[in-house]
Symmetry: C2
């Protein structure tokens, strides 16, 4: 299938990524919250590039950008996202969009390649307004009422206001056309250090882990920090700190080989220096692709909470607020990526689950889907210092485009 | 000195306290932040009552209310404060003001008692804008620049704006007149449970503890909560939780008999459920009336921080942001309160330090000062459910007025 010449223009790929980095620049990264001015300019930038790949550009009513082809033959959907986390990295999202654009530029005009690559930039993958609202809208999972309820988690601006402000209010939302695509392929930076530490160039994603999220609430007794003796305190903050440490000490004996858990936010109430916190809350998250492992850990969490409550000083309540849905990547897609890695990355690939969520997990609910990773320097992610070596970016593009060719050849 | 009839009108004391509870009511407590509408109405309420005690009322340029006497003979200053913590108790502050008012009403018109009680309600004891700004202004410890810099910790409103809004801008600030007063007496609820649990009615305050406050900052590495393996994480939040637990485990071996310590606020940065916190901060406070004990604990804190930093995963910085100044209460004042307790509370008193800060510690820097406590039900304080039994309130008033008589008799 591959002739070992991908026809990928590495300099063009890098130039495109740098063009996107130049919109909403923050230090060496970018700050492009969903529907911000730099985000909208990035969508326009993409819409203007799509005709170079013989694609018709459109931005739909939820901010998804599509490039659609009139070429006959099979069609592969490819893409990622263009908004960023706040003050975050330049490649998280844009890498997959530019790879998809490059694949379309190389493949679509080529009369020797059957079919076409269509490009998508999904809106709000980073969840400023919700959870995968753009790709979920495309697969039919977002109602008008969901949009009515969505709000920017930072500014509080409603999604309706935001859509009006950026001129997208009233536009139709594009829906997946049954049978149009043979599947969906997405590239992304790894956001971890498995590839870098193993001297590898390509991660062949086997599954995307599910995310289970919990609100853990501690109730003690609010009191004066000067007049309440240590022995009689019911300090909800100290109870929370002990619980955090216990989780870290006890989870390793029950978790799976790739389970991760994180306390991302802690709030003490009322949060004043001279008041013993009467209540406290932590946002706690577990990720794994094996629901059995999660079940075991959730049982442990609840039994730990019951033990603390039984001691009588503070009570602990564990509430699950998000239930994970691990997504399996299609086997044929994994094989195509692996074969392309042999052709263009010296076979330096590894099969691995994705610990991060991606739009591919949403597309996987309606069509075969696959993902490939390129290395992240130092594993750093969701931070402006995130980076990938230029040579690795170009290798990834060659593997990506070759995998597209293989998938279209069937 | 005392004839065992205090002439205190218990019903009048309770009625006054209920009148103040009726201004800015929140559940069974009150919400009267400094310079809020209910706070200002409470100041006006007091100003209108002062003539009943043969006192001329004035509100000065920082919101202190004074009732001054033209009676000859010695003068004793007495009072407390009228603003509250947010959504807090009805007696914290008003009790001492109403006792002072009652003492003035009983003593000032009485031709058989030498001298007079003058009344003060100090503004912002609860520290919405700073630290004891009202009483510190009176003793000469607040500059115009301090007022320029002061801001409401909740709303961010500057003190200048607040003073303008409530009509106090441009008024002079009253300053202590050297030699005018034989001393300062303040009553307050205990805010702990030493009295209640010992079946006691009066706390004779020996000293007011100092407050040492620290900002402890943890620096790790911000990263993605899904893709960063547990083994390589530098989670600043987990480091903070372990530090909190270590403090609680190790302080008891080095502290004094009445030392207390509190982590009142914890902030994880950036505070998102899917991001490993790269930095974290805790506000930590220690109170004691013995600077040697504090010195020992601060050394321990710094050596614990150095140990964590030396392990190399996260670094910890300990910054002292407030240095305590314990205040000794005058011996003659303690004896007067104790004698009054024998006369009106069956001698059910105990000498004890105050774990909370009070305006008396500021007044103690320029004149002899004393404090008495009445019991707090369940030791609850800085919460709207704070309360004291009516009979204990009346007993406290009798002891307070009798102590005033004894001090004026010299």
């Amino acid at each position: 299938m591959s002739d070992n010449r991908s026809h990928v223009d590495g300099a063009r790929v890098l130039a495109d990524l740098h063009a996107l980095r130049g919109i909403g620049t923050y230090k060496t990264g970018v700050h492009k919250p969903t529907f911000s001015e730099p985000h909208m300019r990035s969508l326009e930038w993409l819409a203007q590039r799509l005709p170079e790949a013989a694609l018709a550009a459109d931005i739909d009513g939820i901010g998804n950008v599509f490039g659609t082809s009139t070429k006959s033959g099979p069609k592969l959907l490819a893409g990622s996202h263009l908004e960023s986390q706040n003050f975050a990295g330049w490649l998280d999202g844009p890498l997959g969009v530019v790879y998809a654009l490059e694949a379309a530029r190389v493949i679509n005009p080529d009369p020797n390649t059957n079919g076409a690559v269509e490009v998508a930039a999904w809106c709000d993958e980073e969840g400023h307004f919700g959870s995968f609202l753009g790709s979920r809208s495309y697969v039919g999972g977002v109602t008008e009422a969901d949009i009515d309820a969505a709000r920017d988690r930072n500014s509080g601006r409603t999604m309706r206001e935001a859509l009006r402000d950026v001129g997208l209010a009233g536009r139709a939302r594009a829906k997946a056309e049954r049978g149009r695509h043979i599947g969906y392929l997405e590239a992304h930076i790894e956001q971890g250090e498995t590839l870098e530490s193993g001297g590898l160039k390509i991660g062949v994603v086997t599954s995307i882990v599910g995310i289970w999220q919990y609100r853990i609430t501690f109730t003690g007794e609010q009191n004066h920090a000067g007049t309440t003796r240590m022995g009689v305190r019911k300090d909800a903050g100290v109870a929370l700190a002990r619980f955090c440490v216990d989780i870290d000490d006890r989870f390793p004996a029950s978790c799976g080989p790739r389970t991760v858990w994180t306390t991302g936010r802690i709030t003490l109430d009322p949060g004043a220096p001279s008041i013993i916190p009467g209540s406290a809350e932590m946002l706690f998250q577990i990720r794994d692709d094996d629901p059995d492992v999660i079940g075991r850990l959730e049982d442990l969490l609840r039994s730990m909470a019951a033990d603390v409550s039984a001691q009588g000083r503070c009570s602990v309540a564990v509430e699950r607020i998000r239930t994970g849905a691990p997504a399996m990547m299609d086997t044929a897609f994994q094989q195509a990526i692996e074969a392309a890695s042999v052709a263009f990355a010296g076979g330096k690939s590894i099969r691995m689950p994705s610990g991060a969520g991606h739009d591919a997990q949403i597309l996987a609910t309606i069509m075969p889907a696959g993902m490939l990773f390129v290395p992240s320097m130092g594993g750093i992610s969701h931070h402006w210092s995130e980076n990938t070596d230029d040579a690795d970016i170009v290798t990834g593009a060659q593997v990506f485009v070759d995998a597209c060719r293989r998938l279209l050849a069937g």
